[in-house]
Amino acid sequence: MRNFVHLHSSSAFSAHFGVSWPEELAQVAAVDGDALAVTDRDGLYGAVKHVKACMAAGIDPIIGVDLAVVEDGPGGPVAAGRVVVLAHGGTFLPPGTGYAALCRLVSAAHAGTPVGLTLDQLAAGVLDPESGKPALTVLLGPASPVGRSLHGRKYLLPRTKFLQWHKAMPDGAMVVEIASHLSAPGAPLSTAHAVRMLKLAQEFNVPAVLSNAARYAHAEDAPTADVLDAARNVMPLGELHELQPTGQAWLKSAAQMRAVAKEIVYQGGYGNAELSQLWANTAQLADKCRLDPAADLGWKQPATPEMDVLGLTGTAGVELRQRSEAGLVQRFGNLSGTKLLTVRNRLETELATIGGLGFESYFLTVAEVSDMIRTMGVRRAARGSGASSLVNYLLGISAVDPIANDLLFERFLSADRSTLPDIDLDVESAERHNVYRGIFERFGPKRVTLMSMQNSYRARGAVRDAGMALGMDRGDIDQIAKQLWRFSAGSFREALEEKPELRDLAAQVRDSRHADGGGQLDLLVDLTERLDSLPRHISMHPCGVILGDSGLLNRTPVQPSGMGLPMSQFDKHDMDAMGMLKLDVLGVRMQSAMAYAVREIIRLHPTREAVAEEGGHAPDAPFITEGGGIDLDAVPFDDEPTFELIRSTHTLGCFQIESPGQRELVGKMAPAEFSDLIIDISLFRPGPMKSNMVKPFLENRAGFSPAHYAHPDLIPVLEETHGVTVFHEQVLRTLSTMTGCTLSRADEFRRGLGNPSAEPAVEKYFRAKAAGNGYSQAVIEEVWGTLAAFGSFGFCKAHGAAFAVPTYQSAWLKAHHPAEFMAGLWEHDPGMYPLRLIVAEARRMGIPILPLDINASGGQYRAERTAANVTGIRMSLAGVYGLSGTELKRILAGQPYGSLAELRDRGRLSRPILKRLAQLGALDSLHRRAQQRTGNTANRADLIAHVNSLPAHKANKRNEPISGQLALPMEDVELGALAARHPAAGLAETVRTELDLLSVDVSGHLMESYAPLLDRLGVSRAEQLLGLRNNTEILVAGVRVATQTPPMRGGKRVVFISIDDGTGCVDATFFSEAQEKSGPLLFGTRMLLIRGLTRRTGPRGITVQALEAWDLQDLDMNSLPGSLLGALPEMRPEPVPDMEPNMRPGSLAGSPSEALPEPPCWPVHRHADIIEEAHSNPRMLLGHGAAQDKSRS
């Protein structure tokens, strides 16, 4: 039996409903069909992926939607059922008409609540407004309001409803969908139900088509659909009435569908004529709806905003040339002769390539957006390979000079490249939404929409929903979910066997097999694996904005995003296929933090002189304006104190170089100029790490070994990195030098590296051409080895250059304006670490941390001049746990307060909040003032007790002062007369309270109260480590600030834990054995004591290879764990007071630099490569997983 076309099938992109991926569905459909429809629930979420899958499987795509129908209920509109709506192809209508109508229909369905359309809206939406002909077909099936009315044994109701639909829908726009999942006679989706639908169709002479209302590709996927039904309804399987009636909803073969059809026809009392008719109708509708990707969807055809929207009258090509010429005068006005000629030639090459690809309007559009952001007064920076383009530099999109930095345009765009270029803009994160709104206003809402992203099941979510479906206890499931740490749900069973921290859970699973009702945990593991990576919902993409022409909304359906602006139902994987221009406008917190720091500097130092004095700048520094403003982008890239700070590895808070791995690398590399930063950032990537480039680079750089070049021809290419291939640009030049190919061709080859299907061809070409050009086999062998290892990873120098700018700027601010910079970090929280570590860093730098104060604190962390004339940072009221936005506003509006009574009256705070403020010391200043007058001796504990005893605040208008009435200046009698009854809290208790209520230890470092214990154990402090010999066994202790488990090449997991002890960070590495010994401690514990070996990594770098760890909070001096006791070299009776840190027993005398026992080289350590590889992982770099620690602390 050949060719049955399924017209109703949901993909996995029907969240919590569909089970199978478009590729699976298309492959199954292609076995005995030549087309397949995707009809996802309430959207075209899987449509583009479906088209791709159909093209790959060689069948025609059909696109539709399974849409909710809304009817008026007693309490407003309610969902009354579902219909399928299919788009017509271009056979009877102008191409694209049907698809456009479908996009608009879906967008309209998302405009209201609940999502869906009324019959009237549907009837209007199916017509093409141009021709008045139907552009869509509605399938009225078993789940439709009519189909649902057939469940009761009523005669009249279904007929009334059917007639209503029949009358409302335009001729030829509706068919009846017959589907049976062979459920028990009388149940929904039974054959009897299908027969009734067929009879209605016959009675009213409406064509009937056959479908299987499919939810999965294969019969064995049916249990997953059950679990999704449970997840969607948030109800255990055992209590759920909305489960699929049977497990028959797979994409059945033509023969199986024929059998279903026969049964329906037979039970209906019909014969072969009706069977043939049903079959033929289905094929006919399928033909009507076949889509041609190019003609109907505009496949891969880019569309940009129209010229007149950009305010242009001429052609885009002329305009782009004019603007580039203008930029040339501005940026390179002082050049002449051959230098100018080089720039000119480059410009001509770029313009020719851009023109050849027809991308002129794209560049103009991006320039328009970039300019718009600038005029909004928002910091922005181009990132990525866009920095390689001179045109981008001339248009002001990018701030990096591609000529001076030797960046290759071919890496960004070339005639050999078929994909659209990416130009990414970083803006201040706090202004991101305003920038989006600006773009919508500038280009008009019909040309702009936000991009969406799919949120998929990961291990924790999957295990929660699987457990809920099985009806397991919520607490038990939470316990299990908490133990799952960064592996995909699909490898749960594997993880159980391998991961030490899951040991207990694995034992539970084994035990459950023998328990009563056995094996529930086994089932949990299987179901969790089934849910792996299935989409759950879409949300706004963190940076993607789609820009198109006025027809954009005919090409993508949109729905409201969380921030209110519409977002496309398509994600980034759909953009290229749909020819949609995506602009990445990424909110970067560091940009906000830096903008904030600059504003704080001006606020405290409103003149040029004051800023110059405070920051140690020359009085005539060109980057300082008269009013004390600092133009960060004008700061020269050669500031010595900035590089000194970077080399010190005290780079916490600096962009890109604060992670443990980067701190280690800058310690080794000791950057001295801006290009070093570009190299540093580029080295810290999987490619250079994988091809073992870091060590030779560092050794060559330090002069320990001479730079090695495979051939003298490569010296100009690799000189800047001492013979080591670091940049994509160098790969391109190497290929071009040795084979003679063009740079754009070389970039295509580079993309083939690491791709098993393309790399052999590249290798063959390289070997043949290089040999032809006279290179020896040995040279070819060596160079190919490097290229192959480099793979497709590595880093584009333009990326590195774009990244290095904010890296340098943040380090510059930290070096010159530390307090204001740290205030910016506290306010905008840009980094990978919890706030309390950044506060600890400020404390370490000697910046006064000013406590919360009801009068001095505002809603932000502010730099503040102290009485001692140094700049400190004042804690923000916004950080107080549980303080609402309105309460904060009232407090700020009522400042300053003279007495507790005033605060009560004007602030109208709840008693718990008032108590919290008292606990945090925010009321101490009021208290002190009263005490000065009365000599009262009560302490903060008494104040807290008093506040706690106050009657709850009553919102009574009569007690409020009449407006205009001035408060009588009265003394704070209340606080002046406070009874001194309670003992004052110790530092440890105060700090604990601060951590609970503010998540920050303000009064002192959390570790301070552990000092006696640590001293007795002989624990080393972070600042002492540099003075220690390599491979010294030590104990370290501190608060966990980051935990990272990057995926490793060898498959063995390594856990990196950074702890902070108040004198700095200690980065500890746990290999398998140490993980085994530490077990569950690895992830849950906040305060750790770690035994390990020092591992020197460079002149300023040292880390600890952990051997074992304990929970510091569980340690009892009187009963130390045996393993720890054995590790103690000797129990120290008493700490020696005032001893220099590096004079302690076990450490070497003298200053750290003199104490270096070895020459500054990095000993080959058995784990060194693993650590470097791990540190080079982008997940580590970007601090993934650290977020978890952040939220926990």
Binding site: L150, H181, R196, L237, G238, R513
Partner: protein, 112 residues
């Protein structure tokens, strides 16, 4: 009428049509067009493993209502049998006393 479970043998034609049934040592001819449907199972109570890629036939059971005639015996016997997949075993689960208890003609007559 009674509900229980009893093993039987069923003979099908090469096209899959059910022809003959052997039950309690006697052979019966199966009337054409027997009714077939699927019933849900609470698989999460009975199964301990449903790994991805397996599990066809776990969610539902194939049920048949068969009208049987025995040569030399007047009248017709109605049995509900379950066909276990993918194993292929058959079991009787219900014996109907009389034809009029069979629900499908009534179902179809109503509303259709």
């Amino acid at each position: 009428m009674g509900s229980f479970s009893e093993g039987i043998d069923v003979v099908s034609s090469p096209e899959g049509e059910l022809l003959q049934l052997c039950w309690r040592g006697a052979h019966y001819a199966i009337e054409p067009h027997p009714l077939c449907w699927y019933e849900r199972r609470s698989w999460w109570e009975s199964e301990s493993r449903v790994p991805p890629g397996e599990g066809a036939g776990i969610v539902d059971l194939q049920m048949w209502r068969l009208q049987l005639r025995r040569e030399g015996t007047p009248g017709c016997l109605t049995l509900d049998v379950v066909h276990y997949l993918p194993g292929g075993q058959w079991r009787v689960i219900k014996i109907h006393d009389a034809v009029d208890e069979v629900f499908w003609p009534e179902e179809l007559a109503d509303g259709a």
